[in-house]
């Protein structure tokens, strides 16, 4: 560890997105236009209660929109990513890329601020509009 390493300011991680359950939900929603509660429950393996809580938190943060409607005599609850949500998720992946680069630098002994934030492939969520 050298002086540059000590002075390097790591980017802040968005705690709303960083929690594994919420990140899983946002990952699903970033790959489609919208998904219903059942699919989110099955894909993320969260309990109904936990999923409901996480969705509410994400909605409160303005990251997703939740819509409830009746279809075929059933209540269909769907969630979709908002434009702000897409921007937040992209910023999160940028931050994670910077963290990853820094962690790799420490491991290889070439400490210092990352030259370029690396992001996992195909993570970018294009903002609509």
């Amino acid at each position: 560890m050298n002086k540059d390493d000590d002075n390097f300011q790591m980017p802040e991680i968005d705690r709303v997105v960083h929690e594994p359950a919420r990140l899983a939900i946002l990952t699903v929603l970033s790959s489609c236009e919208e998904a219903d509660f059942l699919f989110l429950e099955r894909a993320t393996k969260l309990s109904r209660g936990n999923l409901s809580v996480q969705l509410t938190r994400l909605e409160d943060a303005g990251v997703i929109e939740i819509d409830k409607r009746i279809e075929h005599k059933r209540t269909l609850t769907t969630a979709k990513l908002t434009d702000q949500g897409r921007r937040t998720l992209n910023a999160y992946w940028d931050s994670m890329g910077a963290w990853r680069t820094a962690a790799e630098s420490r491991l290889t002994g070439t400490a210092g601020p990352p030259k370029r934030a690396r992001r996992p492939p195909r993570c970018y969520v294009p903002a609509e509009g």
Partner: protein, 233 residues
């Protein structure tokens, strides 16, 4: 350790993205019963225990029933696994979605996308009317065109779509590539080595059945993976 954690998270997220983006493509039971029934009919024709005329009529009934099954199986998947509305493709290519019409959603955007898929599915089934019954009657069937159509629209996209580090996802591509080579190879065998038409068709239907069953298994396998280990809230 941190790098390993990042890689692990990234890998899981890739699987989640793959599962969501290919949700409809992985619904293999929409077409698997159709291929299985055609395989049975072809086997019966090969053994000669049932008259060709009867088999031809059975094929007509089967294709007609498939229109309804596509709708019913769509509802079944919707109730069992949920609904995912995909982004509308920039270019309305049917490709792998040809046999997977989207479940009905009361949304103008979704209806437009579903309409395109439904048209592809209906066109494909109408086209099979012109080939499959004739095959049992021994008329001038064109298995090459049928196989080409199936390979390009149902098998090739499985080879081209991006894969994740997950071995089961990668195996899907391997299987599809193998199937593609097998379809071409066996067609050449039929064309130049005078292989029996019914044998060739039985192999084709078996390959398609295998691919669709694998897709259904993969859907369940990906859904059974735990993506939220360590979630504490």
């Amino acid at each position: 350790m941190q790098v390993a954690t990042f890689s692990d998270t990234s890998s899981r997220n890739q699987e989640l993205r793959y599962l969501t983006a290919h949700f409809r493509d992985l619904q293999g039971l929409r077409m698997a019963p159709f291929w299985l029934a055609l395989l049975v009919l072809t086997s019966l024709a090969k053994t000669g225990s049932v008259s060709r005329g009867h088999l031809s009529w059975a094929a007509v009934v089967l294709i007609t029933a498939q229109f309804g099954w596509l709708r019913l199986s769509g509802r079944w998947y919707e109730r069992r696994y949920g609904v995912v509305k995909e982004p509308e493709p920039a270019v309305p290519s049917g490709l792998i979605s040809i046999m997977h019409p989207e479940p009905e959603v009361r949304n103008p955007l979704a209806r437009r996308y579903g309409y395109l898929s439904d048209v592809n599915a209906v066109l494909f089934l109408l086209w099979t009317f012109t080939f499959v019954p004739d095959m049992f009657l021994g008329h001038r069937a064109q298995p090459g065109i049928f196989a080409f159509f199936v390979a390009v629209f149902l098998v090739l996209p499985r080879c081209l779509c991006p894969v994740t580090k997950n071995w089961s996802v990668f195996l899907r591509r391997i299987l599809a590539a193998t199937a593609l080579i097998a379809i071409v190879g066996i067609y050449l065998e039929y064309r130049f080595a005078q292989m029996d038409l019914l044998t060739w068709m039985a192999v084709l239907f078996s390959v398609l059945l295998l691919l669709d069953l694998y897709d259904h298994w993969l859907l369940n396998h990906l859904l059974s993976s735990d993506f939220t280990e360590g979630s504490h809230e």
